[in-house]
């Protein structure tokens, strides 16, 4: 389970197309619904309207109202219904219109879905899609990165793809997983990021991925921050330093072997979270390195994250709090010189 190198989509039916991150998610969902009739989708405005971001555009026409269900504005009801359906053998996929609204469904997800296996021995194979993240002036209610809440809740898996190929493969892996999976899809990547995506259904293993190999320092990131890290650490921007970028892809399970392997090779680490800094996923990564990578460190473990404030509406203020290419690059430059 060490990190796979470079951008390797899982082998699938021949032929890849260039799709946006959004199209890849949509295609993954559609392919899996075609392949497995137990899969159905639920959410607010996902049927007739095709979803707030149009992920399920055309689904109602293809799969009908029994498998594409428009729900009331009630996240607790959406997830609770999905849990019940999953227990009797279905594979529900719930869309939260924005990740921020998951707090209304928190109890059903954390207390019911996450603990069902431990309490009753029942599998709850649900997938909850969370359009998350900021960067487009969405303000405090439409920009959050709530992944750490769910990392802290035993029984849930948490995945966060950064590329179109991974978004499709990890979504299908999430749907096929027997556990409840929280799927964080970054809104700011939806239409900005394009990549080669294999045709047909395929599941991507829940492991980290080396987005760019290097040797002098490793930046550990996930989701949109992978792209920030890649841009920040281009060799020409850092006097030719060879900086590795490790894309975690999955936060639970966390690919500890890949993280420690990168630390062993590079000895200097910058961890980037778009989430608020305190107790974020990166804090867990830092703790792991402190405990099990200590002997390989050649400098302090450095974190770059959003300060502990809500995301501002104001575009300049938002840009000031989110980890930027410049901030990540400066952190790398400082640590490389240490």
């Amino acid at each position: 389970m060490t990190a796979q190198t470079a951008t390797r989509p899982s082998p699938a039916a021949a032929g890849t197309r260039r799709l946006t991150y959004l199209q890849a998610i949509s295609e993954g969902l559609r392919d899996e619904m075609r392949a497995d009739e137990r899969v159905f989708v639920m959410g607010e405005d996902i049927g007739v309207f095709g979803g707030a971001f149009k992920v399920t555009d055309g689904f109602l026409e293809e799969f009908g109202p029994e498998r594409v269900i428009d729900t009331p504005l009630a996240e607790s009801a959406i997830i609770g219904t999905a849990v019940g359906a999953a227990v009797v053998g279905m594979r529900p996929v719930c869309e939260m219109q924005f990740a921020d609204f998951i707090s209304c469904g928190f109890d059903q997800l954390v207390n019911v879905a996450g603990k069902m296996h431990y309490r009753q021995g029942l599998a709850v194979p649900i997938t909850v899609r969370l359009p998350s993240g900021g960067g487009f002036s969405g303000g405090p209610f439409h920009s959050q990165n709530p992944e750490a809440w769910f990392m802290h809740a035993p029984g849930l898996k948490v995945v966060a793809p950064s590329t179109p190929a991974d978004a499709k493969g990890l979504l299908i892996a999430a749907i096929r997983d027997p556990n409840p999976v929280v799927f964080l899809e970054h809104k700011h990547l939806y239409r900005r990021i394009k990549g080669e995506v294999p045709a047909g259904p395929y599941a991507t293993e829940l492991t980290a991925r080396v987005a760019r190999p290097g040797r002098d320092l490793v930046v550990i990131a996930y989701g949109a921050m992978v792209h920030v890290a890649l841009e920040a650490t281009a060799p020409e921007a850092l006097d030719g330093a060879q900086v590795e970028v490790l894309d975690l892809r999955t936060l639970v399970p966390l690919d500890e072997a890949a993280i420690l392997d990168a630390v062993r090779r590079c000895s200097k680490v910058v961890i980037v979270d778009e989430a608020n800094a305190t107790c974020a996923a990166g804090a867990q990564v830092a703790a792991l390195i402190a405990q099990r990578g200590f002997e390989h460190l050649d400098g302090p473990v450095v974190r770059v994250a959003t300060p502990d404030v809500p995301i501002p509406f104001s575009p300049p203020l938002e840009q000031a709090v989110l980890p930027s290419v410049e901030r990540v690059r400066e952190a790398c430059r400082e640590l490389l010189a240490y």
Binding site: T2, E256, S267, F294
Partner: protein
């Protein structure tokens, strides 16, 4: 102990106890000459016992007054090796004695630089300290290119590179280092040659090192003592090869075949305990615990066989971890004499170079040794489920067992090898 009528007292340097079962040791070299100043805990001489090297620290600060045991001599534990005289004023050798007022030594007046204190340039990160320890580097000699002159990983690696290249390791600009020569897993995986200890060995010609002499004596004695025969058996390693690549060991994926072979050997020894034995004179003893010796190459310096005690309690993964750890400690010269004692069976594994057969020499007083060489893909005839023969490409190896004909006969050796083979070919973890 001894004292003199002047205000100077002397402190004895004694041969330390290096392991519970060690009775004697040899002085390899003195690091300090008579009359030289020494600081407490500074190394005064190097000693060796059963191929394990150690350093003797000065028991007190002062001046080396006398060398009692010269380099090359072997003495019992507790014997006095030399004496340090501690002057009342504790003035270091070269310092002008009159300046001091008999109280605390005047810091900074003389050569010995304060090693600890506020100098951040001499605060080393974990990885730098570990590389230095593994390669015996004095970090004071490494120039730092980091912030405020801090020694970084690349500095110590560059220093190591220059040392290897034979340059006097003087500090130029830190070149970009190659892949860091850190963890190795077992003797089976090639690694960059460990940095030869600067003083010893290496040079062609000259007198054999202490370790080579000991290896030679041991091997010669074995061949003279035992009635050594060697039996070979071919093994299909297909299942082992498939399994080992996905095994998870110590947070990493993949392991060598050695720990799996070791685990199968342990099980085969339970089936044939007569091979888990020692023979001294005509005293033949079968042992309950499998104390498994694993031969570890020390590069040019020689070979050592650390022992995994009670190996029967470990899984293949557990054995992999122990082998890796022992190999690393062996190469870092950190084994204690107890780590190499009490073996009941030994495995040697020089297969990384592609050799396919060997006749290993039995590690006395054990009665057998197993040799694992390269695993090579070969066309072999296999029988299908319907009884038809076909040629298939299979990873094959040849296990060689050297055994002592005084203790056992060839039939048992073959049965034992067959027991190992059966387990390897049916291996499923």
């Amino acid at each position: 102990m001894s004292s003199s009528p002047t205000e100077t007292t002397t402190v004895d340097i004694v041969m330390p106890q290096m392991g519970v079962s060690v009775a004697e040791g040899i002085v390899v070299a003195w690091k300090v000459a008579v009359g030289d100043p020494v600081a407490a805990d500074e190394t005064v001489c190097e000693i060796s016992s059963d191929k394990i090297d150690a350093e003797v620290p000065a028991p007190a600060s002062g001046v080396l007054a006398e060398i009692v045991v010269e380099a090359g001599e072997t003495v019992d534990v507790g014997a006095v090796l030399g004496r340090i005289s501690t002057a009342g004023g504790a003035a270091p050798g070269g310092a002008p004695a009159d300046g001091g007022d008999g109280g605390a030594p005047a810091d900074g007046a003389t050569a010995p630089a304060p090693r600890e204190g506020g100098d951040l340039r001499r605060t080393y990160s974990p990885v730098v300290q570990r590389i230095a320890r593994e390669h015996g580097i004095d970090l004071a000699e490494v120039r730092g290119t980091g912030r405020d002159g801090r020694v970084r990983k690349q500095d110590v690696l560059a220093y190591l590179e220059r040392q290897r290249a034979g340059a006097p390791a003087a500090d130029g600009p830190a070149a970009a280092p190659a892949e860091p020569p850190l963890h190795i897993e077992s003797p089976y995986i090639p690694e960059p040659a460990p940095a030869a200890r600067p003083a010893e060995a290496a040079a062609p010609g000259g007198v054999l090192s202490a370790m080579r002499r000991q290896i030679g004596a041991h091997m010669k004695r074995s061949l003279e003592t035992a009635a050594t025969c060697t039996t070979w058996m071919e093994v299909d390693m297909g299942r082992v090869e498939a399994w080992r690549r996905t095994a998870r060991v110590g947070g990493r994926t993949g392991m060598t075949a050695l720990p799996i072979v070791a685990r199968c050997v342990i099980d085969a020894l339970a089936e044939h305990p007569a091979l888990n034995a020692t023979l001294e004179g005509d005293r033949y003893a079968v042992h309950e615990d499998v104390n498994l010796g694993i031969a570890v190459s020390l590069g040019d310096d020689g070979l050592i066989v650390p022992v995994i005690h009670r190996a029967q309690e470990l899984s293949a993964e557990g054995l992999a971890v122990r082998i890796r750890e022992l190999a690393a400690r062996a190469r870092a010269r950190e084994l204690t004499p107890d780590d190499v004692r009490g073996g009941t069976f030994t495995i040697t594994n020089p297969g990384q170079w592609g050799a396919i057969m060997a006749t290993p020499v039995i590690n006395q007083p054990q009665v057998a040794i197993l040799d694992l060489e390269a695993i090579v893909k070969r066309p072999v005839v296999v029988e299908g489920p319907d009884g038809t023969d076909a040629i298939a490409i299979r990873p094959q190896t040849i296990l060689g067992l050297s055994w002592d004909h005084r203790a056992l006969d060839g039939a048992l050796a073959a049965q034992f090898l067959a027991a190992i083979r059966r387990r390897l070919e049916q291996w499923d973890g």
